[in-house]
């Protein structure tokens, strides 16, 4: 089981992803440079957080045109698993691989803090191992994490069970007060209709070791690893 973590010049959570996959889970993991045209022999691809090409224009708007994203799209079209975290989620939306868009936080400020999440569906490669009823505590760190889509898209996300995570408060209630950025329906993460591409704004890789104050994020990596064990990798 091999993982690839994309590396744009402005990625800054790439090493954190690699650290968790290699050191916490002991899985072979390679960085994949943005100028590459193939994902190689990876069984799953992570798109990490950061500022891809500076993101001065709009997050992910240039990254979607990078050579490596062409390869990632092809990989996903063939059923490969792709998961974007923070900037990775933004890039996937911008590339049209996930529906909707991530716009500026309603506070108009960057926010870095631990949030609480509920898992809206366990039927995905990224959430299968999360125990029923378990609320996750995972940090966010973004200025543009306000998930937006039109009513129709929201309806289809709900109908198809594509919402992975929603912001809740510590008591487990899905309230507007618990929403850190103004996302529609408190959405923190979604997957595509085929369920092989997912993305989330919070950073599970920063919450995968008790020494950093919490390890709920491990469950997301564990879920994908469990999926890869049961589903044969791409031919």
């Amino acid at each position: 089981m091999k993982f690839a973590v994309l590396q744009f010049p402005g990625s800054n959570c790439d090493q954190d992803c690699v650290h968790v996959l290699r050191s916490v889970f002991g899985r072979p993991t390679e960085l994949l440079w943005h100028k590459e045209y193939s994902v190689g022999d990876a069984d799953a691809v992570f798109i990490p957080g950061g500022f891809s090409y500076g993101d001065y224009l709009r997050t992910g708007s240039i990254a979607r045109f990078s050579p490596v994203m062409g390869a990632v799209k092809e990989f996903a079209d063939n059923g490969g698993f792709v998961f974007g975290i923070c900037n990775g989620f933004q890039i996937l939306c911008e590339a049209g691989m996930l529906p909707g868009a991530l716009i500026r936080n309603r506070s108009l400020q960057f926010r870095c803090e631990h949030v609480y999440l509920q898992t809206a569906t366990h039927d995905s490669p990224f959430t299968g191992q999360i125990p029923e009823g378990k609320n996750l505590r995972i940090p966010i760190a973004h200025g543009e994490g306000n998930y937006f889509c039109d009513d129709e898209t929201l309806q289809s996300l709900e109908d198809n069970g594509q919402i992975l995570f929603q912001y809740i408060d510590a008591e487990g209630d899905l309230t507007d007060h618990a929403n850190p950025n103004g996302s529609r329906a408190n959405i923190a993460g979604i997957c595509n209709e085929k369920r092989n591409v997912g993305g989330m704004m919070p950073h599970p890789e920063r919450a995968s070791e008790a020494v950093l104050g919490g390890d709920d994020g491990r469950l997301i990596f564990q879920s994908l690893i469990a999926t890869l064990k049961t589903q044969p990798p791409l031919a």
Binding site: P9, G10, N12, C13, Q15, D16, V18, H19, V20, S23, G49, G50, F51, Y53, G54, D55, Y56, Q109, F110, R111, C112, E113, H114, V115, Y116, R137, P139, A141, G143, D169, A170, H177, A178, P180, H203, E205, R206, E209, V211, L212, G213
Partner: protein
């Protein structure tokens, strides 16, 4: 191109050089400098680059210890050994004047500058902190500056990908219009990765890396070395640079990759005074000369003069000297990162800094004299007159409190004491996945793991844990510069001890007024003396720092602010300690003497209490006994290392009562989710003439710790054995309906913890809304 202006006394004065300094230049050169050369002297001999007013004073700092690998002043930043072949490099630097003029870019480029200083040493920057000072938030312009500075720091640090793990923010009228922005960065490297800023090897090519040179930041170093007036601010807006954190990230990754090849013989960032400073300093350090051709320097505008190109402070540029014959390796790496680069000259054996423009000689100056022979001034120092009134202040006429209920709330709400969550929630403080203690406790704590070091495949080494703190109570420094400066060092050390760390080194940022004013220079002199004694007492040598003078406007000078940042090592993850109360029933113990018997003001001099409740910023502050502080720190560390301590928090602004309240509510479980826990405090046995002094006095050398009930007697006995006073003062209370209850000989009071938290947590947010 217009011809250069003739050198007149007016032109010399416009360049901030005195007639005497100009005489010195004539003597040094044996001829008249041309216009470009005059510009070069003006920046190289500015305080920012030359420390001409402070060099003599700074000699008093302790700069050596067995851990010091690169000492203060040798390079862009110092380097300390942390064991197992690993080392750290850190420094703090000011960007005060630019932030006053353009807060967002001023602060952003301050962060960029200090990060460059760290990776120039070959280290991978792994965390940042900052120390900020503003006027009072009731002033809309202050709010504009505050908002701009914080978002500028957030913009740069977050995008670059460095966690901003800690810091401090004070609000005081003296900083109105003259905010202080001191940025700190720390990097990690192996001993064999230390890079030098020396131009070695005659004939070696000199590379320019980074974006093209523009007119931004023209002569910023000289701008920073004069008083700030309305006029100068407007005039100098062009002296503020514009930062590009993405470019800086590329620059860092490329430089670290390049350093790993071994092809680099010297590297220096183009910070203050840009191309000028980097060329002449590398040549001076290398004992060589350097020759460059400006025609080869990438330029944003086709009509830039040599003067402008040399003095530009365009950001994210590096000067790299490469071993001859290895140019291709360098080009390959720059191209990989899509970085603009140019080969602009080479190292010579002449000792001269030679600059040509299309082959025509424009500068020919002796490099080492320019870099090292700036005039050194021993300025006149006179004790300021205001100190007589400060010393004469007594508590006569200050009625003691009958009921402290409202006072505690007011202090917690005071922006200087209030939670800084409005600030740090805008900073990514967790990127790189190393932050073990987030902002909000006494010190930040990070771990150092394999990916904290430049290069891949660093192999296995034991994880290291560092604690970092930055402190300075400038009110105390204003009221007693020597004691106040000592206290700034002691507070850093106390914060580190409370986190479980032993100090190993420090870096200082001296923010003062105009050194030509003898009273202001006296503040500087006394402060430096205090810092030096403090750093020596804690075995925390100064590894580098920064001086920012002329922090004044027509209204007057800022409070003298010798900001101190200190780094410590934590031996084991089990020793990492946080400030908040942990479990119901734990014993609360006060380490240190509750009151200083020799202090006539009982710790109320210069206190937050006097400022907030009595609108008086006066009185001699609490004395700082370094011997006592040092013993207190080592004793606490011993207790922590024996596993006895569950929480530790020092008493600072607002005294014991504020410290206790913070212990009840400062733990943050998640967004909008503080954890409250109560406490029952009994101070009846503490002898005090005044209730206000007992609760809110700022006597130094006090730390509140908690232990399990079982360990409390052992902890107290051990502490006393070390000669440090220790008293059980209470018990941690319930989580449900948490209340802080305090009783003394004069009464008994109770506060709802949730209500105190609301005042403390939301104060700055409300002020900024």
């Amino acid at each position: 191109m217009p011809s250069d202006p003739a050198i007149t006394p007016e032109l010399v004065a416009e360049h901030n050089l005195t007639p005497e300094e100009y005489e010195g230049i004539l003597e040094l050169l044996g001829r008249e400098p041309n216009y470009t050369e005059l510009g070069i002297f003006s920046v190289m001999w500015s305080e920012h680059c030359s420390y001409k007013n402070t060099r003599a004073l700074l000699k008093g700092f302790p700069t050596q210890s067995p851990r010091v690998l690169v000492a203060a002043g040798e390079e862009n930043a110092g380097i300390l050994d942390i064991g197992d072949g690993l080392a750290i490099s850190f420094k703090i630097e000011s960007h005060n004047h630019p932030s006053a003029v353009e807060p967002f870019q001023g602060a952003a480029t301050g962060v960029g500058g200090i990060i460059r200083d760290i990776f120039t040493m070959g280290a991978r920057p792994v965390c940042a902190m900052n120390s900020l000072r503003f006027g009072e938030l009731s002033n809309p312009n202050v709010r504009r500056l505050f908002r701009g500075v914080v978002s500028g720091i957030a913009h740069y640090g977050n995008c670059f990908g460095i966690p901003t793990v800690g810091g401090e923010v004070y609000f005081d009228k003296s900083y109105e219009g003259n905010p202080l922005v001191n940025a700190f960065a720390l990097g990690v490297l192996r001993h064999d990765q230390i890079a030098r800023g020396a131009a070695k090897g005659v004939g070696n090519p000199v590379f320019y890396v980074g974006p093209a040179t523009g007119r931004d930041g023209l002569a910023g170093a000289a701008f920073a070395s004069q008083d700030l007036t309305e006029e100068s601010a407007e005039h100098q807006r062009g002296a503020v640079q514009v930062g590009d954190p993405f470019m800086e990230k590329l620059c860092m990754e490329a430089c670290l990759e390049l350093l790993a090849t071994g092809a680099v013989t010297g590297i220096q960032d183009m910070g203050a005074a840009g191309l000028t400073c980097s060329t002449c300093e590398t040549a001076a350090r290398g004992g060589t000369g350097i020759e460059i051709d400006l025609a080869k320097v990438p330029q944003r505008s086709s009509d830039m003069t040599p003067y402008e190109i040399l003095l530009s402070e365009s950001q994210e540029r590096m000067l790299i000297i490469v071993e001859q014959g290895r140019e291709e390796e360098v080009k390959r790496i720059f191209d990989k990162w899509d970085l603009p680069w140019a080969e602009i000259g080479n190292v010579t054996g002449t000792g001269q800094m030679v600059v040509k423009n299309h082959g025509e000689m424009v500068v020919d100056l002796p490099a080492s004299k320019l870099a090292d022979d700036a005039p050194v001034y021993h300025r006149e120092a006179t004790e300021p007159k205001y100190l007589a009134a400060v010393r004469a202040f007594t508590l006569e006429g200050i009625d003691d409190l009958d009921d402290p209920t409202a006072a505690l709330g007011k202090l917690l709400k005071w922006p200087t004491i209030a939670s800084k969550n409005w600030v740090y929630r805008q900073y990514d403080h967790m990127v790189r996945a190393n932050t073990m203690v987030n902002p909000g406790s006494d010190a930040a704590v990070i771990r150092i793991k394999a990916d904290s070091i430049p290069g891949d495949g660093n192999g296995a080494f034991p994880e290291k844990i560092l604690a970092l703190a930055v402190d300075c109570n400038a009110t105390h420094v204003y009221l007693d510069p020597f004691e106040g400066a000592k206290a700034a060092v002691a507070e850093c050390a106390r914060n580190l001890a409370c986190s479980g760390a032993t100090p190993i080194g420090s870096t200082d940022n001296l923010n003062f007024g105009n050194p030509h004013n003898p009273e202001l220079f006296w503040q500087l002199k006394e402060s430096v003396r205090g810092l030096a004694e403090g750093c020596a007492a804690f075995d925390a040598p100064v590894t580098g720092g920064n001086v920012s003078l002329y922090n004044q406007n027509p209204e007057g000078a800022i409070d003298p602010t010798p900001t101190m940042a200190m780094v410590g090592l934590i031996e084991d993850a089990a020793h990492v300690t946080t400030q908040w109360f942990k479990d119901e029933g734990d014993a609360i113990i006060l380490l240190g003497e509750p009151l200083d018997a020799e202090d006539a003001l009982h710790g109320l001099g210069g206190s937050a209490f006097l400022q907030v409740l009595h609108k008086q910023k006066t009185g001699t502050p609490s004395r700082c006994n370094l011997e006592t502080e040092r013993t207190l720190g080592t004793t606490l560390l011993g207790l922590i290392q024996s596993g006895l301590v569950k929480g530790a928090h020092d008493c600072a602004e607002g005294g014991l009562a504020v410290a206790l309240a913070e212990c009840c509510f400062s733990e943050l479980e998640g967004r909008n989710t503080p954890r409250f826990i109560g406490a029952e405090i009994d101070l009846i046995k503490l002898k005090s003439e005044r209730l206000d002094a007992l609760l809110f006095g700022e006597t130094l050398g006090r730390i509140v710790i908690t232990t399990s009930e079982l360990d409390s007697v052992k902890a107290i006995e051990r502490t006393k054995l070390m000669g440090v006073p220790a008293r059980r003062i209470g018990t941690v209370g319930e989580v449900k309906g948490a209340a802080l209850k305090i009783k003394s000989t004069t009464g008994e009071w109770s506060w709802e913890v949730a209500r105190l938290h609301d005042l403390w947590w939301n104060s700055i947010d409300n002020a900024m809304a």
